[in-house]
Assembly symmetry: C2
Homo-oligomer: 471 residues x 2
């Protein structure tokens, strides 16, 4: 097969851009840093949304929608928050043909405006916990944009909750982290994320603790795929989110926030893509089986009829299926496009194989092509979808292990970050070591306990720091 | 029952505001004209989205996402379009801490940016039709905002398509109008809309034809609930959307656009609401059956257990159900809230009725309360949901008929618009009569043929104009 993409080993960033363009996933927008998500990319995002939305609802949160525009003054109420976001704000100064009395900012995130309304809606302990989520676009002006990873506008969900106690807030921030984020990433996206605690330096602006899911990309770098924050009482104090307790006193609430975004699309590409294009895990794939008519052959018993019957049978078996009957386009070109798009299974129906009673089942994960009796195709597809969901995850896990080293000093960790991740005792890094690593383009992705669980605080003993270069 | 809302007959706009606040559907946002959609309102919107999205996909369109920010220069390329939207634009002048070289506008609609990308993506007739849709927020600065009806930011879907011929574009604009919009509004929202053609004066800025779905609200005014536009070759010429035809020439495409928004929530309230609150048609309702434990009664055979069993049985029967077990709140208050929210059916489970083997099935549409043997509740609920979907539609249709008069002169039509709709020969109105009516706050909502079908042009003979005051 002719070379379609720049090989990953030759130029990983170029491969990434090539893939997005040739698989028609997205384009750069006209305003610098913005993006156009094309139907092939958006269909994957819709599947991510559906899977995430179900998990968020299962955790008891309800969807709502808060305004795009936030008064500039809101941002200023929480000191760390305004400092963190000021350099990235887009500011609207004119509306309806007039200069505005107070400029408004386009939300970079909605803690402040949601804080304002939580204060209005919460009266007593009976109103707690208040568990909200919204699907929205946000804007953070990017000087070095990269599609899906860093764009001036992106799509995300942002959850915001208020609780009566610190313990309850912490438990909920962690519930979302594990039951929604980690579960979706590992079991649907097939990305074996490491879940841990961010250091103070890497924390969200205004948070008291930030938890993260970090994935290893195909070049050994890390990508932060989702974060969940304990905000302590910082926003509750700034926005007067308080409640009357069962005992009759007036208390500030404890709040959390958590988000995942279209950045997951970038992570998906860089985790599972190969030199032929994207590979989409079957559970996520909008199209799981792509049935292709190789060559025309009208009439009963021909490829067109057989392909249509296979589509119906696959759909009846619960498979998301699409038919490619564009026989006026060369089959080779369509096959290349199907590889680029990463459909988990192709079923090729052509006159020659059909004469022998077969269709060809092609698995995207390993590239295998198996002539299969037509009557066995549904079973073969179902087996392939099941196996390849696991295979993609396991390949990514194996790759992560092969590119992760255990070291004992900061210098070794920084060196190891050139090709992958380093696990090093946090005590050997510390705040000063972290600053030194940052100076060389290496960050502490997260802290984990020796047994892999998530620490409560960076002050716990025997923590392991994971250092890497990151997107 | 104590008076919860200002009665509609006393002050309809006040009733509307009261209902939205007390049913906790939405709040005003902090920036003038923006809104916060609360979970109870957003859940209805999500159901509208799901039903609409399915219809749009069934019509072959694919979802995509285009940027929020549009270069100011794009708007200026189509003369009527920029004139139509200039007074309503929000303009971003600063981003990332700096003044922008070219200000960007926040999309009031996406014809221009989508036109730019259609031009890139379309090469030959094989690429047509190109059928796109996006779910997004848009901004049109509003001086006299009203929640859901006119807000500076609103949520919507906007479809944009390109076709090889005018006939194909027209057929698609009408397909969406009838198969997606009219079907959803009539059969799910239960709003008996009139579907017709807008006059040149009321047309979308840049369109050659605008089709509309108009509903009558509870005060006799009209609400435009959705529009579908033929854009001719106006945008294709402004953005160079052209294709090589099968014959080898280079031709401009013909484009359409079409949209429905959170305004449908306002229409739902004003069409079906009564003095006790909202009434949500069963097919639309996020919660169809609201099972309430009247009073505590733990242990086997008590209200709590019976209510839980009823919930399970209803869910198994395909009913969207919620359990209200907040027995620490007075039952009367919870019942009032349930009325306000408009759940189609309540199932009240209390110790007294239960002792007689009954639960009480309360239908929101007519307020009827029927003690029902527990074993018959599922059947009674299913029957009520079916009947009340029809009943709400038929009530609205009957109301519309009672408030619509056939007249023959402009003066009579304007007079009739004080209380409802007037049907008058378009030949008795004309362009000058339309301007005169506008001066008195009355608009031509649409033109229809005598048989009720949608005309191709306002120049057809024997058209009927529908005149009304409108939101």
């Amino acid at each position: 097969m002719a070379r379609v993409l720049t090989p990953r080993a030759e130029d990983f960033p170029r491969w990434y851009q090539d893939l997005i363009a040739k698989a028609k996933l997205a384009d750069n927008g006209p305003v610098r840093g913005t993006m156009v998500i094309r139907p092939a990319g958006y269909a994957i995002w819709e599947r991510m949304q559906a899977e995430m939305d179900g998990r968020i609802k299962a955790a008891g949160a309800e969807n709502a929608y808060f305004p795009l525009f936030i008064p500039e003054s809101y941002l200023k109420r929480e000191a760390e928050h305004v400092e963190g976001f000021s350099p990235e704000l887009a500011v609207v100064t004119h509306g309806g043909g007039k200069q505005l009395a107070e400029p408004v900012v386009v939300r970079p995130t909605s803690e402040t405006v949601i804080g304002e309304f939580m204060a209005k809606w919460i009266d007593s302990y009976r109103d707690l916990p208040l568990l909200l989520n919204q699907w929205a676009n946000v804007v953070r002006w990017e000087l070095r944009p990269r599609i899906f990873l860093r764009t001036s506008e992106f799509l995300w969900q942002e959850g915001h909750t208020a609780h009566a106690t610190r313990e309850d807030a912490r438990a909920y921030a962690r519930r979302i982290l594990h039951e929604a984020y980690e579960d979706l990433m590992v079991n649907v996206l097939g990305i074996p994320v490491v879940v841990g605690l961010k250091t103070a330096r890497e924390r969200f602006a205004g948070a008291t603790a930030t938890y993260t899911c970090e994935g290893m990309m195909g070049d050994g770098k890390a990508l932060q795929l989702g974060t969940s924050h304990e905000l302590g009482q910082n926003f509750a104090k700034a926005f007067d989110i308080n409640y009357s307790s069962a005992e009759g006193g007036r208390e500030h609430a404890w709040t959390t926030s958590w988000g995942t975004s279209t950045r997951m699309l970038g992570g998906l590409i860089m985790c599972h893509g190969d030199d032929n294009g994207l590979r989409v895990p079957p559970k996520l794939a909008p199209i799981q089986a792509y049935v292709m008519i190789v060559k025309d052959g009208e009439g009963p018993g021909g490829p067109a009829e057989a392909a249509q019957k296979l589509c119906d049978a696959l759909r009846d078996a619960g498979v998301r299926v699409a038919l490619d009957d564009r026989t006026d386009t060369a089959f080779g070109r369509r096959a290349v496009d199907a590889e680029l798009r990463g459909y988990p299974v192709r079923v090729e129906v052509g006159p020659r194989d059909l004469a022998a009673g077969n269709a060809v089942v092609v698995r995207r994960t390993d590239g295998s092509k198996a002539p299969t009796p037509v009557a066995d195709v549904v079973g073969a597809v179902l087996a392939a979808l099941e196996a390849d969901q696991r295979a993609l995850h396991d390949q990514a896990l194996e790759f992560r292990r092969s590119r992760t080293v255990e070291v004992s000093t900061l210098a070794e960790a920084i060196e190891a970050s050139a090709t992958g991740w380093a696990r090093v005792p946090w005590s050997a890094v510390g705040v000063e070591g972290e600053a030194e690593a940052n100076g060389q383009g290496v960050t502490v992705r997260c802290l984990v306990r020796a047994d892999g669980s998530v620490p409560d605080s960076e002050d716990e003993p025997d923590l392991v720091a994971i250092l890497a270069r990151a997107y």
